[in-house]
């Protein structure tokens, strides 16, 4: 039913033709007393954008870290694009793009040097072209040869986006990507996301902005007590009732 186009040679046989981009089952992760994830299940198919809401400390960031294979869950199974994070982490990682709060860039290197470096880590043959294309798309091409330290927050964020998209990921993990972005950049970012989705990419977005989350995504979920407690298609929820639903599950006004 789904015909996967690219992943190249050396692809393990265990990957099946019919798979979700994200499949997480029974994921547990604890930090001391704080049980951040407690048996979380999540499945995201191709071409879907899902927004995860939740109060501070609900584990949204931890969820993204676990999905991005930065943090190893205490229990549970996760497969990204059909690759198990336990056994085939390297394959999985090469299909994931991540934008976090921190830029993941070296302040003393130029944007281009940073991106080239990541190009090498991901084994890209056409890194230079990708950098140019994406940088132009995100309107940072003219600042590529400036040190990241000298870039404004918005520009740095755009370079982070280039970094995340450089290796043609099939899954984007975005942790409050809108923070610190001006209206222009936000517009570009929304366009890019739409393109990415049209190309079959899946996105897991974490944000505090109910409006933005609802507007951008096909599906919204609320994280509470370390699990998904609410999960529905965006079209089933109106922006008027969303704050009420959010309050109901988190005891907070968004």
């Amino acid at each position: 039913m789904i015909k996967e186009s690219s992943p190249g040679a050396g692809q393990p046989k265990t990957q099946t033709a019919d798979f979700a981009v994200v499949r997480a089952t029974g994921v547990h992760k604890a930090y001391g007393d704080a049980g951040v994830l407690t048996g979380l299940n999540l499945e995201v198919p191709r071409g879907e954008t899902i927004t995860i809401f939740g109060p501070n400390g609900a584990g949204k960031t931890t969820l993204l870290r676990v999905l991005g294979s930065l943090t190893r869950p205490d229990r549970g199974e996760i497969a990204i694009n059909g690759f198990s994070l336990k056994e085939q982490a390297a394959f999985a990682r090469s299909t994931i793009g991540v934008v976090m709060h921190s830029s993941l860039l070296y302040g003393d290197l130029t944007a281009r040097e940073n991106l080239r470096f990541y190009g090498k880590l991901f084994g890209l043959g056409d890194a230079e072209d990708r950098i140019e294309t994406l940088a132009r798309r995100l309107n940072v091409a003219h600042r590529l040869d400036d040190k990241v330290r000298d870039l404004s927050h918005g520009l740095e964020k755009r370079v982070s986006f280039v970094r995340a998209l450089l290796h043609r990921p099939r899954l984007l993990l975005l942790d409050e990507p809108e923070s610190g972005l001006d209206q222009n950049t936000l517009g570009i970012f929304e366009e890019l996301l739409a393109e990415f989705r049209a190309g079959g990419g899946a996105t897991v977005l974490v944000t505090h902005s109910l409006e933005l989350g609802l507007a951008l995504s096909d599906r919204i979920a609320i994280l509470g007590g370390g699990r998904i407690v609410f999960d529905d298609r965006s079209e089933n929820v109106t922006i008027e009732e969303l704050p009420e639903i959010y309050r109901r599950f988190t005891g907070e006004v968004s």
Partner: protein, 257 residues
Amino acid sequence: MVESIGTKRTVWLFATAVLVLVTMWMIFEWVPTERNLGVVQRALYVHVPLAWISMVAVGVVAAASLMYLITGKRRWDSIALASAETGVLAGTLMLVTGAIWAKPIWNVWWTWDAKLTTTAILWFFYVAYLMLRAFAPPGNQAYRMAAVVAVLGAVDVPIVYYAADLWRTAHPELIIGPAADSSGLTSEMGLTLLVSVVAFTSLYIYMLVDRYRVRQSELEISDLKREMRNYLYAPSTSDVPATAQSLRAAAAEPIGD
């Protein structure tokens, strides 16, 4: 179940207490004073068992840490922690009793021979290990880091000893006090030492097991706290997330069903 463990524990504690009392009596009353070294030689009956315990403790930490790295089971980490704490305590007391013994016998509190140097370095290393456990980020990551450090430390011990030994040969001791080597143990002395080793080993095991159980209880409490907090957060025990539809349906139902 709990009671039987409790009983066993009490019996063990009681037996250890009796053994320690007997040991004390043997050390201070029964065993004859060593002719050359005098009364201070009695410190050895405490010093040697403490050194023995420290050695065992170091071995247990390394073995348990290796097991943790292999299996990832939390209880191995608890054993390593319990043994490290007990070992540092025993090691500290060993260094103190050693100094007390050395001052009148060697005329110095401390000397930099290979054994002492290695012991001192090991002592610092295990204090650093406990510091790391205190400063590490919460969660499994801390256990893994501690386990790696413990294994690396164990690997380092022979090299440290060899280097310190060679270093000592390069710098021969200048003055060492009167007759350091004792003139053969009498059978009473041997027996006292043996009983003392048994008593202290029994004490070590008691402390190890007790600390291990406290640790496991701490972890259990932390698990329970977590579950409770999550329950308060999301009282729904259902594994199926709600949808807008289900919420509307629930709202439409009459209250007080």
